[in-house]
């Protein structure tokens, strides 16, 4: 199948290096300490952060740093064909782990010993790149909750189909069988914290693809910063100072 037309357009009309439209909103769940909605094209996720708070299960308490936990869930209606999976299947467990590990590194956990931070992400619509969208939503939610962090973490995926590196794969491109490289970076420190790839790819092309995904992450980071700034300004305005 042809994923990039001779004119250089992808199935959904994007250029190879073009990202889907992203949209973010802070404060979707008013009862949570921090929450955010993040959309990448048709992929839409909600993240909610509870904490830092008392550790619920005493045996898990860490005396030198905060305990970070994460749960990833997909809604039954999120995929094209309706799915009925019990909570906590293998795929969700793996993604929960990936999100937790990525975010734990950037949270200043040593500042909050003997406490717990819960991150819950819920996928409302899945159209490829849910991992990335979840990490982006969780970063925003953590920032909204006012949890001290080294930097924002942002994530984006890239692939390689029809000898062209493609940024931000959607579901159809993701299921095409080509490589799917998910990268997460700390944009200010310029460090990669998450890197996953399936399928195979020549080394010199891998470099290009990772480079492309990193550029995508940076673009997302700029957008997230804008959203945060806007939100902070609004809070300041409401406070009336």
């Amino acid at each position: 199948m042809e994923y990039v037309s001779p004119e250089g357009l992808r199935l959904d009309g994007r250029r190879p290096m073009e990202m889907r439209q992203i949209r973010a909103e802070i404060g979707a769940v008013s009862k949570a300490d921090g929450s955010a909605v993040f959309e990448m094209g048709n992929t839409k996720v909600i993240a909610a952060v509870y904490g830092p708070r008392e550790v619920q299960n005493r045996s898990q308490q860490l005396s030198d740093k905060a305990l970070v936990r994460c749960e990833y869930n997909m809604a039954n209606f999120s995929t094209g064909d309706r799915m009925r999976k019990p909570k906590g299947d293998r795929r969700s467990t793996e993604i929960s782990l990936v999100i937790r590990q990525t975010l734990e590194e950037c949270i200043l956990t040593h500042l909050m010993p003997r406490s717990q931070i819960d991150i819950y992400v819920q996928v409302l619509q899945a159209d490829g790149g849910t991992r990335s969208a979840c990490i982006n939503a969780a970063t925003l939610a953590l920032a909204d909750a006012g949890i001290p962090m080294r930097d924002l973490v942002t994530s984006c995926s890239a692939g390689y189909l029809n000898s062209t590196p493609l940024l931000d794969l959607n579901y159809v491109e993701d299921s095409a069988g080509g490589p799917d490289v998910t990268v997460g970076i700390l944009p200010k420190l310029d460090k990669v914290t998450l890197l996953q790839m399936d399928s195979k790819l020549p080394i010199d092309i891998l470099e290009n693809v990772i480079q492309l995904a990193t550029e995508g992450c940076k673009a997302i980071a700029n957008y997230i910063r804008e959203i945060l700034l806007e939100n902070t300004k609004e809070l300041e305005y409401r406070r009336g100072s």
Partner: protein, 286 residues
């Protein structure tokens, strides 16, 4: 879980007794209701309902299936509710299973009628394509995104809104198939049949706190309840289903009184919902 001091508990109970609740409402006033339709593009119909800080999403997916042997002239409807852990950390893992099952069962009772399909708010005979062979199976999925009390009413409203947003593709049956073969069908992707939602009841939950009962309780008020009765009433004023939650016993005469109050409240709620749904649909189309 809500932790309230003794003083706060008295304050809530006293306020309800004096018909002035903590957020300034009267006992039988709802919080503002906000409806948005068409929020899940992949579904046949979907809606998001917000009541206060409670937010629920309902989606309807239609799949072609085979009617059951007992009721060959009726399609099947399934309701599954899921409580997302974003709403409450206690819903993590299997923590929400009990509540999800309770809500699903209550909605089943309120919307789908008896086992025979009699008295259902959703007309299941309209889902049949070829009697005994092909019918539409409706999968209604509810998701609680944020919980701030009164989940059942919100889910009921969301399902109603989602169903009125639902378009079921029209189906052409290929003629000439013999009676024991599975007939071939052609599902149109342009023509859609709208669903008749006028018979779908609204659910009103009356929460009893002290000697009085209130509608649309917040979690703080729910923590003070002795029992709650959810009554689903359709536009004609017929009671379609009743569910009682909470341990304390109720006097039968009180229950009858509650039903008549619920009937009165449901009229306002249905009108409010219908106008909200209509304006949401208008906005969705524009």
């Amino acid at each position: 879980m809500v932790g309230l001091s003794l003083g706060e508990q008295h304050f809530i109970q006293g306020g309800i007794a004096q018909d002035l609740r903590c957020d300034g409402r009267k006992r039988l006033t709802y919080r503002p209701i906000n409806v948005e339709t068409g929020v899940i593009p992949q579904a046949n119909g979907s809606a998001r309902v917000r009541i206060g800080a409670t937010e629920v999403i309902a989606s309807v997916k239609a799949e072609l299936g085979k009617p059951g042997v007992v009721q060959p002239d009726k399609g099947k409807v399934f309701i599954y509710i899921d409580c997302s852990s974003t709403a409450e950390p206690a819903f993590e893992g299997r923590g929400s299973e009990e509540l999800s099952a309770e809500l699903s069962a209550a909605l089943h009772r309120c919307l789908l009628g008896a086992k025979s399909g009699a008295g259902a708010g959703i007309d299941r005979t309209s889902l049949v394509v070829v009697e005994g062979k092909i019918c539409w199976d409706l999968y209604i999925d509810g998701l609680v995104v944020s919980s701030d009390g009164n989940l059942l009413d919100a889910l009921g409203a969301a399902i109603k809104a989602a169903l009125s947003n639902t378009g079921i593709p029209s189906v052409k049956v290929a003629p000439g198939a013999s009676s024991d073969e599975q007939p071939e069908v052609d599902v149109s992707d342009e023509e859609f049949l709208q669903f008749d939602t006028s018979g779908i009841p609204a659910i009103v939950t009356l929460t009893k706190v002290g000697r009085h009962y209130i509608v649309d309780a917040t979690p703080e008020e729910e923590s003070q309840m002795s029992s709650a009765v959810s009554i689903s009433i359709n536009r004609k004023g017929h009671v379609c289903g009743i569910t009682k939650r909470g341990g304390a016993g109720l006097d039968p005469s009180v229950i009858l009184d509650m039903v008549s109050v619920a009937k009165h409240v449901s009229e306002q709620l249905t009108n409010k919902l219908d106008s909200e749904i209509a304006s949401a649909e208008a906005e969705d189309e524009s």
